[in-house]
Amino acid sequence: MTKRQFDFENQYQIMKQKVEDLMEESRIHNIDLSEEIALLENKMARIRESKYKNLSPWERVLLSRSLDRPGAEDYIGFLCSEWIELHGDRLFGDDQAIIAGLGMFHGMPLTIVGHRKGKTTNQKLQYNFGMPHPEGFRKVMRLLKQAEKFRRPVLSFVDTSGAFPGIGAEERGQASAIAETLMAMVSVKVPVISIVSGEGGSGGALALAVGDRIVMLSNSVFSVASPETCSSILFKDAARVEDMAEASKLTAADLLELELIDEIIEEPVGGANQDFENTARLVEESILKHLRDLNDKEPDILVQERFIKYRRIGSIIQP
């Protein structure tokens, strides 16, 4: 059976609890097992470390989707000394599947946008499980224009299973909204740094990921279609998800090798899910480094380089 949940951490914690019980027991009975237990714990830690280093693509898919995966709000909270969420597309609504606003990062104001999935049931419903409607993309475009007006770098967090598949979304131009966001992102005259922090699913993810730098957390994924979709559409066989996760080359390591992303942030053992602080610190360093790089560039050069970055993907010409 194909796993549908990332359960290693749970199992590990149960094991760990058992070892602690054993230790307790041995103390009560005055049997000194400390040396053996230390070895045991050591071994277990190494197994855990090795496990997290060698997660299969499908396990990374599951990990990236886990409820305990930190999202844009978490990173914003860590990175910014001040934060103002801004609302609305000035056209139809305020799509809460996308969080957008202004953050003060190391004394520098940034425009920040990101998918938002929510943690509690209420939040998930309110944020539509992080699946944007056209309004979300149009809110992003509105803020991109302001970023340009105020020469403010843009930071995006990518974490969605995709744009919402629904009647209203289609009626109001989901495709057109995504297309125009892609065009706006690729041409905005300020630095854009995209952090793929969770699940990068299809066009709804890409619309927020067209950065000068695409940085992926090591357990995040980015794919043209979910492994479930690939296996059911291409092979009419829902059981092939693990194959498909492998074949789609959706892990950070695969995508770096394909030169589709610029950097991998290696998550600590346990992943961002278990160790948010250390992950966030690495994200912070990465953003600082890339901003230093990009802030010096003339806007025209910046946009030209961004154009070439995307133009060369799968191209016959090498500009």
Partner: protein
């Protein structure tokens, strides 16, 4: 006085079209009956009518070369980048076989044909997608040919006409395929900067990442009657919302009503309407 009586024309006017090498374009598999009105269809009638049902005007799929015959003035189409074809860059299961079969059955190296042409004497760069080739999904080479066509249009200062059909991204090329959305959108952005006209013609079906990139970014977006046009396919939406969708949902006429299209144009009128748009944008008619 008014050139614009789109949608009111009877199909028999097609006899005025320049035929070119259209007769060779028999490659489309022909159904025995109209999928819409179930009327029996004779191959000869279909060719005569550019694959529009003579009885109910249902627009069947048109192959790339048939479409070129429909639109380009006789003997004016000059293909470029016709030698480009895809390879299995991710070693994705079954992709080699699928590519080979698509090439064999369509006679095309890839799902899009691009070139220069004249339309009623107006110079254009023309790209035509062919849904028989893996549902005309957009892999790296499809994306590349679109960008090269846009760049040729910029270079020549000729309008770009893209006749679109697509099932979306080409999953077998993974993220390389998805990134073609960004790449083609970037190319179209340059076209707009250069002040070059871009008209897209959406045919049945136009969905997914193709609709959500270059196809929606035209100055003028035209569609064929009843063409299915949407980001998410209707089946996926039905599964999500768990009830049936209305019949006209995501049809061209529905999109027109919802502000997503400029025009819905009968195939019989397409060439003259494109020519009119070209004329209105200062096209040179030598």
């Amino acid at each position: 006085m008014f050139g614009n009586n789109i949608g009111k024309t009877k199909y028999h006017e097609v006899s005025n079209f320049v035929r070119g090498d259209y007769e060779k374009g028999r490659e489309s598999g022909s159904p025995k009956m109209c999928p819409s009105c179930k009327a029996p269809l004779a191959e000869q009638d279909l060719i005569q009518n550019f694959r529009v049902c003579p009885k109910c005007q249902h627009h069947l799929s048109l192959g790339a070369w048939e479409r070129i015959s429909l639109l380009a003035d006789e003997e004016t189409f000059r293909e470029f980048n016709g030698d480009l074809s895809s390879y299995n860059r991710l070693h994705f299961p079954d992709y080699d076989e699928k590519l080979e079969r698509a090439q064999r059955e369509s006679g095309l190296p890839e799902a899009i044909v691009t070139g220069t042409a004249y339309i009623e004497g107006y110079q254009v760069v023309l790209g035509v997608m062919d849904s028989r080739f893996m549902m005309s999904s957009m892999g790296a080479i499809v994306g590349e040919k679109i960008c090269l066509a846009a760049e040729r249009a910029i270079e020549l200062k000729w309008p770009l006409i893209m006749v679109v059909a697509s099932g979306g991204a080409r999953m077998q090329e993974g993220m390389v395929s998805l990134m073609q959305m960004a790449k083609t959108s970037a190319a179209i952005e340059r076209l707009h900067q250069a002040g070059v006209l871009y008209v897209s013609v959406l045919t049945n079906p136009t969905t997914g990442g193709v609709l959500a990139s270059f196809a929606s970014l035209a100055d003028i977006v035209v569609a064929e009657p009843r063409a299915l046009i949407g980001f998410t396919g209707p089946r996926v939406i039905e599964q999500t919302i768990k009830h049936k969708l209305p019949d006209n949902f995501q049809k061209a006429e529905f999109l027109l009503q919802h502000g997503m299209l400029d025009l819905v144009v009968d195939r019989a009128r397409l060439k003259e309407n494109l020519a009119q748009l070209l004329r209105m944008h200062g096209g040179r008619n030598d």
